[in-house]
Amino acid sequence: MRIRLMIALGLIAALMLAACGTTPTVAPTAAPAATAPTAMAAPTAMAAPTAMAAPTAMAAPTAMAAPTAMAAPTAMAAPTAAAAGGTGTVKIGILAPITGPAASIGSEQLNFGKLAVEDFNKANGTTYELVEGDTQLDPAKATDAAQRFASDSDIYVVVGPAGSQEVLAVAPVLGKVNLGMISPSATRTDLTEQGFKNFFRVVPRDDVQGATDATFMIEQLKAKKVWVIDDQTAYSTGLRDVVVQALKGKGAAVTTESITQKDTDFSSLVTKMKADLPDAVFLPWQLANQAAVFAKQMTEQGVTSTIFGSDGLFSAKDFIDSAAGATEGAYVSNFAPDIKSIAASKPVADAYQAKYGDFSSFGAPTYAAMMVALEAVQRAEKSGTLSRETVLAELGKTDQASSVLGTPIKLSSKGDVENASFFLFQVKDGKFVLVTQSK
């Protein structure tokens, strides 16, 4: 009995050390997810210290100690600041899927956010800080992180979250404490129709994306039969509806199907598609690596329909590299241009590449969104009263003549950016190549 106990404690200590040793962003994901489970697992191992039969009341404190000890070494000041009344530092929160199924998108968003804060501080002599919140693209975890931000009185504005389903969960939580939020990637059309007074975004809406994609499929790809497969998230179903309507309006035959984000075997669906032989298959999915698996299974069965993806698929690492050639020739629409080709933004692109490596399309809008947020905070400070309400008001007044995206950013009263367009890319020779731009 004793040996087992020793080994159990040793293992848990080793894991906690591993958690402290790895990057802080890893620990917070484990802490919320593991808080409940470790409390359940702990009694089996830790009940023994009292050498009695599982006195769970006594085991509970030790069980609770483990998760908080795991949460402590994170970069988030939130737990400590929540207890205090605020430390006087001005902080901006960022909600992104830093780990999880969309981690390549989230880590890029986070790193661009960090770069933006550094650049802004350097240019303006400010000392604003960034606080990370990992959402794993899950509305439940996003809500957790948002609540932590809400209770940290040093945080005046939030950049993110990334997914439209997360916005629906998080906006009311942040709205209750008047925290403004500006998303660099949530494109579902009706997010700005819900009456959220605190939601803004720097990317265009899916009614633009859907119309652009449908027009391209019909006019350029000459598609007469299209399959539209959604992944049942708010973003996906919203975009699906727009595209299906636009396609049908132009006379194409449309078949719709759904999968879930947990699926890895699409072979039966591919077989079903093979019997119908559509010209194009539209995948408004959030997870690029899932789409890569789908493409691979299409190749396996010899289905040659053209794949057309929406912005969720725009990840070179997940959509091209992991597909081993199966996605060659596929089209992907996206809400941001490649900033390496914009002269004024090249310094930012170079700085990012020097520090973090290559990037795809989700980072630049995050940089832009962070700049909007930082400028709103600065204007609120200069006006005399820095509070969440004044920052929120300043966000609504955003009217930047230029941004890292190469376009001006003027936010409408509903939270949308005016005159934004979508960009269409194709996978050629293992790289995304710009084909055309909407509007």
Partner: protein
């Protein structure tokens, strides 16, 4: 109607692949339930660790510069490594989380199993981050390589999964029917105390059962990793659930039942996706389970409940 018959062979192939994997996982559930009357909820996560081990071996033996060994050897090594690691993991879990609770009421080891499941998931996430990993199967088996049987195409990797799983299941059946260890396992499953009194080393049988069941899960993990390429820390949840369903469908505790249940579940899912809709595939699979249990409460091949007079 024409499209039905066109699609059918391919859907059967798809279903067989899935079913073979479910059968391997279900076997582990049934074996452990047979000897311990315990539902080992950590089984799905052992399968997940098998997939990670396979991924690790593949990454080590197939760097950017090229394969360090012939493809078949790498696959064999992946399977052996995963089976060994998972087998040992299963033994450790048993010793650690279930043996101290041997005499406790049945709910205690069940909760313990859940705890082990969460522990394994979170440990993998902590140690290796929550990113999806993609197994580069195309380095070993080119995607267009395969067999054409009529309108159906069995790609090389699916053939590997089906043949490999069937081979393992055949080996299991021989083990259980023809060897002394198999006889001892069946004896412990029928009546643990009586077997003990007849001179069977019960602990050793239980440990071996865990080893074999977990090794099969590890093999399933590698095969799924090769076939569907996505490896991540949460993959054990769905697979464990489906494996458990398959085991119950065939009669929990019954080894041929687990195999039958697995194959049936895989076929049901694939046919449901192909001819009804992928949105309802899980719904249909569970409805089938409910209907089967209503007609035969102990599963398809389960023992008839004895009426004690």
């Amino acid at each position: 109607m024409q499209s039905f018959f066109n699609q059918l062979p391919q859907q059967l192939v798809n279903g067989l692949t899935l079913g073979a994997v479910y059968a391997l996982i279900a076997l582990g559930y049934s074996m452990v339930y047979g000897v311990l009357q315990l539902l080992n909820f950590a089984h799905g996560d052992v399968y997940m660790i098998g997939a990670f081990v396979g991924y690790g071996v593949l990454t080590a033996l197939a760097p950017k510069s090229g394969l360090l060994a012939p493809a078949w050897l790498i696959i064999l090594l992946m399977l052996l490594a995963a089976m060994l690691v998972c087998g040992l993991l299963g033994v450790v879990i048993e010793w650690f989380a279930y043996r101290p609770l041997r005499g406790a009421p049945r709910i205690a080891p069940l909760i313990s199993a859940l705890g082990v499941s969460f522990f394994l998931q979170s440990a993998m996430q902590l140690l290796f981050s929550a990113n999806f990993r993609t197994m580069k199967t195309e380095l070993l088996l080119p995607p267009r390589l395969g067999l054409d049987i009529g309108p159906a195409r069995i790609s090389a990797v699916r053939l590997l999964v089906i043949v490999g799983a069937l081979a393992l299941m055949a080996a299991m059946t021989v083990l259980v029917r023809r060897t002394r260890l198999g006889r001892a396992m069946r004896a412990v499953a029928i009546d643990r105390e009586a077997a003990d009194m007849m001179g069977v080393d019960v602990n050793r049988v239980i440990v071996t059962t865990f080893f074999i069941g977990s090794a099969l899960a590890g093999a399933a993990g590698v095969m799924v990793g090769l076939a569907f390429t996505s490896v991540w820390h949460y993959m054990g949840f769905t697979a464990g659930l489906k494996g458990f369903t398959a085991a119950v469908l065939g009669g929990i505790g019954n080894i041929p039942g687990a195999m039958l249940g697995g194959l049936l579940l895989g076929l049901t899912e694939s046919l449901a996706v192909g001819f009804i809709s992928p949105t309802y595939k899980d719904l249909i699979a569970f409805v089938v389970l409910i209907v089967v249990l209503l007609i035969r409460p102990t599963g398809l091949l389960g023992a008839k409940i004895q009426q004690k007079v």
